[in-house]
Structure formats: structure tokens, C-alpha cells
């Protein structure tokens, strides 16, 4: 039989993604209840566990948002079932209101909060370092460096949580979550617990000060265990010239950089995998080895600041030390770290010239002027292109300097040319509608511009509903356009309350966005973004109305449509009709509409369909003033 990630037996080596390793580690720890909200780079954890649930006895759900996810998972912990909750860094903000109280009440069966941070915001609105929540709410924090550690340390996380009766935080980053490597798996346990809430126990935060004290005692207990954790290591000479203090997957960059620069005799590495509370005695012991230290970590100077405070408590005994890192300017404060950054930093500290620099400079002169950046854009056939085109046109017709208040999803790209730069603000899930509540009350101060708020279907359920209720209650003038593409597309097409199935594959009655609006007596219309002219008229009409109103632009995500049988048309440009450079001040369709499937033929000087890219949605036929783009 083929070895798979869900097999009972351990001892085999499999190629696993970091997130799959986390999921396997949770299964090996006997997890029974898993919840989360999708978000890069965390989504594959819940998806893998949902796959596991087909053959193993566990429950997995995509919750409506991260706060509900952690609450649902906590109920399982209270009732004696090991539980996991997973999210991206922004999600921890959403969950934090519950989290900061939960750590006062304490928990029962082991429960682990996984945060997958996204340094550089590769697919996020920020690059927040969620580790500060561990410090803020006194939560033990683990940071694995490799997929193997991610798997192995899950067991430690669950055991620790169960021992101290509090939630434990487990932090990954994009580069670890999305790295695949060979990982040795272990045996899966038999699960025998039964869910039972012992009514002699209770979970609340009162009396607050006493509970707060208890929370600190629990944290100290965790700290004691961390002192002897096998995942905290020192490697290198007895008394090196420099010690690099590091955590997470950048540890591997440090290790390789030292090898590449042949500095193994000069530099030691202190790798910390239990980053809060600090293993104080362990760290102080190693601070004695050297007088110079460099912190390498993502994103914020978390170890850097906390270890310097620790040093201050023992400075008398340790003597004068020099610390390098973000504060000293040796490591950048912002953005993801790379092997190159680490190499540069170590090379400069040891006055070494890197031989490859010459090649790099030469290669750069050859390519830099001829290699433009690749602009992000909606997929070929994406309904959002149609939606924004209609919104843009309607706002032009309306001619009152209207603009769009945006939200989180693929349609965030409305800030860029692919969405015709219509979106003027993007922050957190549901915030577009919250801002709309404010704009909608500014008329008394002379505000006359129309505002359109866009939000996706999944975002609508996640956090836009309370803001919509607020708009209704406070009689704001607000126009919400729900871009309903029947998926949480951005993060990989996870089901949500509006789709008709759950992540475990069960059928479920979809929650109807129209019905929700109607129940609030909010007028609601529906249109198809593929019918751009019709949609433009509807948007224009609704712009002239007042009060709260909702327009649902409904059309499946093009990638889903592709999987479910594709599109009806083969497209062709009639080169006799196409006016090329003289069309609408130069090739109107290419320049304005920007579908990657509709390209420019340099030789013929006409528009051209790229047969490899075009999916055949047919909507570009509507924009050509010459009717040169034809649906076959």
C-alpha cells in the first residue's frame, strides 16, 4: 500500500508541506476537534485535517470567522477533547478578544492556537508579528524551524496545554507553512475519550486579579519546562567570536550562511524554539560564551528585545555584551528575511567579501532595464473584472467623484489597474462596510460623493453583517455591493456559509445573503457581472437612491468554473474590424480592460486572443466599440 499522510503506522519518511506536517502532528497528538478560518498561509492545515476526517474520528470545520473558530474549539477543550484552531496572523486579531479572556479562565483538554504569520505580506494586508499576543496574554509560544520540528513540536504543544490547563500558541510563517520536505511520521494513537463537561468545574475570569496571578504561575510552569526542551539548542565553538540568536525557519539560513562563509570556528548558533516565556537560565548560560550577539528573527525584534531585558537582569554577573540586530541596523526591521540578507550581515560583521557579488552586479546590468515587473491581475474570466468595469463606468456616468471602499479578498486588487484603480481603501475583514457607515453620515458636513462598498461573499459572513446592521440602525446612506463568486477564492476555494457544503463534505442549507438583507428590510438587487452593460445600469440606478441598499453581483469564480466544465466561447479578434492603435486613444481593450487573455500582436498591430490564456468567458466582446472581438 502507498504511504500516506493519514496512515496509522509511523516510522516512514514522507514529503510533507509544513502545514501538512502540523496537521499530522496534531493527529499524532490525538486531536479531536479542529476549527479555523481560511487565510494564506494557514489554510492547508484545516484542509488536510478535513481530508483526515474522512477516515479518522475527528471533527473539522471552517468557522464563520476566527473568533467563532477559537470559541468552538475551546468548547471541545472544556469537554475534555483535544482541540486545535488555526488562522493567519490577522485572524489572531479577530480571535484576540476571546483569547485574552480565555487565558484567564484556563482550559481543560489540550488546545493549541496555530498562527501562520506572513512576513512581507506575500498574501496579506500586513506583516504583523502575532508573537506579541503570547506576551500580551501570557501564552506559552512555540516556534518550529523545519517541517519535521513542526510535526514533532505539536505533541509538545498539546501536552503542555493539558498540563498547565491553558491554551498554547504555535507559530509558523509562510516560508515554513509552504515548504515541503521529507518528514518522518509517528504512530497515530487510538482515540478513546468521550466528550463530557464536568459541571463541578467552571471557566470564567473572576476574580480577575487572582486569575491573572494564576495565569502567571502557569506561564512560569511552562518556562520551567522550556529550560530543558530538546528543541532549544546551542551549536558551535565553546567560546565563539559571535553567537547568532535565532528562531523559526530563518535558523536554516543562518546555519547555511555560516557554512558558506567558512565561519564555523568563529560563530555559534543559539536556536530558541520556545520563544515565550524565555528559557531564562538556558539563555543566560549561553550568554556567558561570547561578548557579541546577533539576533536573526522574523518579523519584529521579539527575542531581541526580550533577551536584552533578560540580560539587564544579569548584567552584573555577565559583564558588558554587544548586541546586533534590527535595532543596530544590521538586520532589516521590515520584510521577510532571506539567505542573502543573512549572508550580507555576517559577511559585513566579519569583513568578508562575498565572491558572488561580482556575478550579481554583472547580471543585473544585463537584465535590469529589460525586465519589467509583472503586474498582478484578476484571472482570465474573473467576474471581478466585469464588476469593477461596471462600477467604474457607473461612477463615470454619475460624475460626482464617487469611489469604492474595499475589503479583503481577490477583489482587493481593485486598488490596482486590473480593477481600474477604483478601490480607495482596504484594511481588515468587513472594514469596507464599517467605513461606509461613517461616509454615510457625512452629508451634514457637506459630503456629497457617492461611495460604493464592495465585499466578497465569505467576507460578508465573516464581519460585514454587524456593520450592515449598524448602517441600518443609524440610517447611514450606504451602498453595499456583494461580489458573490460562491467561494473564498483568494485562499483556495474553501466553502463558507453561503455555499452548500461543509469542509467535511456534508451538504448544508446555504445561508442566503438576500434573505439576510430582506430580514432587515434593506432593498436588495441581483445582477450578473458578465452582463457588464446591464450591471452598469443597475449600479447607476442604485447610486441615485438613498439609505442602505445592497446589490449582489453573482457569478462563480473563474477558476471554479474552469474545474466545473469551463466556459462556452472560443474567442477571436476580427482583424479587419480591430482599429488597433487608433482605437479609443490607442488599443482600448488592451490598455483599459487588461485581461491577460487579450493580448497585442506586435506584427499585425491588432488585438489578439492568447489561446493558451483565454478561458472563453466572452465578456470582452462587450467592451470593443468596433465589435471586433467575437464569440465563436
Amino acid at each position: 500500500m502507498m504511504n500516506t499522510i493519514f496512515q496509522k503506522n509511523g516510522g516512514v519518511r514522507l514529503l510533507l508541506q509544513g502545514n501538512e506536517a502540523i496537521a499530522r502532528g496534531a493527529l499524532e497528538s490525538g486531536v479531536m476537534f479542529c476549527a479555523g478560518y481560511p487565510g494564506n498561509p494557514s489554510s492547508e492545515i484545516i484542509e488536510t485535517l478535513a481530508e483526515a476526517a474522512k477516515t479518522l474520528p475527528l471533527y473539522v470545520e471552517w468557522s464563520v470567522n476566527e473568533k467563532v473558530a477559537i470559541e468552538a474549539a475551546t468548547a471541545a477543550s472544556f469537554a475534555g477533547c483535544r482541540a486545535l484552531v488555526s488562522m493567519k496572523q490577522n485572524g489572531v486579531n479577530v480571535a484576540s478578544d476571546f483569547l485574552t479572556n480565555l487565558t484567564l479562565s484556563g482550559t481543560h483538554a489540550g488546545i493549541v492556537l496555530i498562527t501562520c504569520d506572513d512576513p512581507s505580506g506575500i498574501s496579506s494586508t500586513n506583516e504583523e508579528d502575532a508573537r506579541w499576543f503570547a506576551k500580551l496574554a501570557d501564552i506559552p509560544l512555540l516556534e518550529p524551524a523545519t517541517p519535521q520540528e513542526a510535526l514533532d513540536m505539536m505533541r509538545m504543544a498539546f501536552d503542555l496545554s493539558e498540563q498547565i490547563k491553558n491554551i498554547v500558541m504555535f507559530r509558523s510563517v509562510s516560508r515554513l507553512s509552504h515548504t515541503r520536505s521529507d518528514v518522518v511520521i509517528h504512530h497515530l494513537p487510538e482515540i478513546s475519550s468521550r466528550a463530557f463537561f464536568n459541571i463541578r468545574q467552571s471557566f470564567h475570569t473572576f476574580p480577575v486579579v487572582a486569575k491573572h496571578k494564576q495565569r502567571h504561575e502557569k506561564l512560569n510552569q511552562a518556562g520551567d519546562q522550556f529550560e530543558i526542551s530538546e528543541y532549544n539548542t546551542y551549536t558551535g565553538p565553546e567560546h565563539p567570536e559571535l553567537i547568532v540568536i535565532t528562531s523559526g525557519c530563518v535558523y536554516m539560513y543562518v546555519k547555511e550562511a555560516i557554512d558558506m562563509l567558512h565561519l564555523n570556528e568563529n560563530i555559534g548558533i543559539l536556536k530558541i524554539a520556545t520563544t515565550w516565556p524565555l528559557p531564562k537560565a538556558f539563555i543566560i548560560k549561553h550568554l556567558q560564551r561570547s561578548n557579541r550577539f546577533l539576533f536573526v528573527e522574523e518579523v519584529d525584534p521579539f527575542l531581541e528585545e526580550n533577551i536584552q531585558v533578560l540580560y539587564a537582569t544579569a548584567a552584573g554577573q555577565l559583564g558588558i555584551k554587544t548586541f546586533f540586530g534590527k535595532s543596530s541596523g544590521h538586520i532589516p526591521f521590515c520584510g521577510e528575511l532571506t539567505p542573502s540578507i543573512v549572508l550580507d550581515c555576517l559577511a559585513s560583521l566579519f569583513n568578508i567579501k562575498r565572491p558572488e557579488i561580482q556575478f550579481q552586479t554583472h547580471a543585473l546590468t544585463l537584465i535590469q532595464d529589460i525586465t519589467p515587473l509583472r503586474e498582478f491581475g484578476f484571472c482570465p474570466g474573473c467576474p471581478h473584472r466585469g464588476s469593477y468595469y461596471a462600477i467604474k463606468t457607473a461612477l463615470l456616468w454619475d460624475n460626482r467623484d464617487g469611489f469604492v471602499s474595499g475589503d479583503i479578498g481577490c477583489y482587493t486588487m481593485g486598488i490596482w489597474p486590473t480593477g481600474f484603480n477604483q478601490v480607495k481603501s482596504v484594511h481588515a475583514m468587513g472594514s469596507g462596510m464599517g467605513l461606509a457607515c461613517g461616509y454615510g453620515k457625512l452629508d451634514r458636513f457637506g459630503f456629497q460623493q457617492p461611495v460604493i462598498t464592495v465585499c466578497g461573499d465569505s467576507t460578508f459572513f465573516h464581519a460585514a453583517i454587524p456593520a450592515l446592521i449598524n448602517a441600518k440602525f443609524n440610517q447611514a446612506d450606504a451602498f453595499l455591493v456583494v461580489l458573490d463568486n460562491n467561494a473564498t477564492a483568494m485562499t483556495g476555494f474553501q466553502p463558507h456559509p453561503g455555499t452548500s457544503h461543509t469542509v467535511m463534505g456534508n451538504k448544508t442549507e446555504p445561508v442566503d445573503i438576500e434573505a439576510i438583507c430582506r430580514a432587515m428590510n434593506i432593498p436588495v438587487s441581483v445582477a450578473d457581472p458578465y452582463e457588464m452593460l446591464e450591471t452598469t445600469k443597475v449600479v447607476y440606478r442604485m447610486l441615485q437612491e438613498c439609505g442602505v441598499r445592497v446589490l449582489i453581483l453573482r457569478r462563480k469564480c473563474a477558476l471554479i468554473q474552469n474545474k466545473e466544465g469551463g466556459f462556452p466561447y472560443t474567442m477571436k479578434v476580427d482583424i479587419h474590424r480591430c482599429r488597433g492603435e487608433s482605437c479609443g486613444c490607442n488599443r482600448y481593450c488592451n490598455r483599459i480592460f487588461r485581461c491577460p487573455g487579450l493580448i497585442w500582436d506586435e506584427n499585425a498591430k491588432k488585438a489578439l486572443i492568447d489561446e493558451v490564456i483565454c478561458v472563453g468567458c466572452g465578456i470582452c466582446a462587450e467592451i470593443c466599440p468596433q465589435q471586433a472581438i467575437i464569440r465563436l
Partner: protein
Amino acid sequence: MLFNLIITGVGGQGNVLASQIVGRTAVKKGMRVTIGETFGLSQRGGPVMSHIRLSDHGQTGPLIPPCGAHIILGLEPMETLRIVPSYGNQHTIYIVNSRPIYPLNVIAGEVVYPDLQTIQNVLTTISGRLYWIEATKHALQLGPAILMNMIMLGALCAIDSFPLNRKDFDAVLPDIFPATKCKLNHEALAIGERLIQSDRISFD
């Protein structure tokens, strides 16, 4: 042995699948494997790069150090050019699919896509060897355009210094594709291998 391979291209070209096939094949052969993948906005046509590191000793980090690629498998010409200063060196072997995917700013006429002949010249002067192959064209003759990634893998395993061969890849396909799709993928691998072999004959 430590072998660093980069597969670069744009979203939707099957980059992640290709790197998984390499990874699973290598694990089957008992190698240690690390693959760093950048998804991000890749679904939306952005650049995608996989760093594949095969070793016979310890674990490696998820990113290849500067100028450390032995082979760069370029699924798209301009994306290949882009990473030359960061990961190429004088000995790097390039296998490049000749078919551009035009970025939106090129389509809109705001910036110019680099001339294909210029790309070839740059890669030839700066590298150990360039194989410029019409993988998308051959894929379209065989079936859907996505088969391009399998043709490129076929080309990859024809390179002597690459530690896996076509038989190794062939053996893994049944674990990855449903039986009905295996034949086409085997054929694509074979086409890729032949393209390199014939290129080599004309070169020598």
C-alpha cells in the same frame, strides 16, 4: 551531494505540481528533499518560484542561497531572466520554455516585453549552457497547454548532472495522476527528453 534546482514561471503553469513530482521522486530514491514554494498571489498570474533542494546528507533550508542554482527550469522566458542575478552563476544550466505569458502592463503597452533573442543572448553569455525549447508548442500538439510542465520535467531529467532520470519520474506518475491521465504525461516526459537530446546533437 547537494543539488539546487529552481522552477520558475507564473501562476497557472503547473509549477507547484512539477516541483512536487521532483520532490516525491527524490524521496522515493532515498534523498533528503526541501522545496521552498512561493504562492502568494500566484493564482492571479503573479510570478511563482519553487526552490528544490536534493541532498544525500542533512536537511537544507527552504531557500537556495544567492547564486546557488545548478539548474534553472524556466517555464516562462521573462521570469527566467528575472532571477538570473539572484540565483544564477557562471555554471548554471538553463532550460527555458520559449513561450511568453504577457504581463498586463505589457499588454496595456506601458512597458515592453524583452525581445526573445535578447533573452537567449543574455542567458547564453552568462550561463553554463542554455536549452531553449518550444515546450508549450509541443504541449499543444499533444493535448492541453498545461502538459508543458511535464515536457519541461522530461527535459530536466535528460541533463546528465541532474540526479534523477526519466525512469524515476515515470515510476512516480501513477502515485500522482489518475490512471487515465498517466499515458499522456509519460508521453510528455519523453518528448521533453528528446528535445534536449536533439538540441545536444545539433549543438555538438
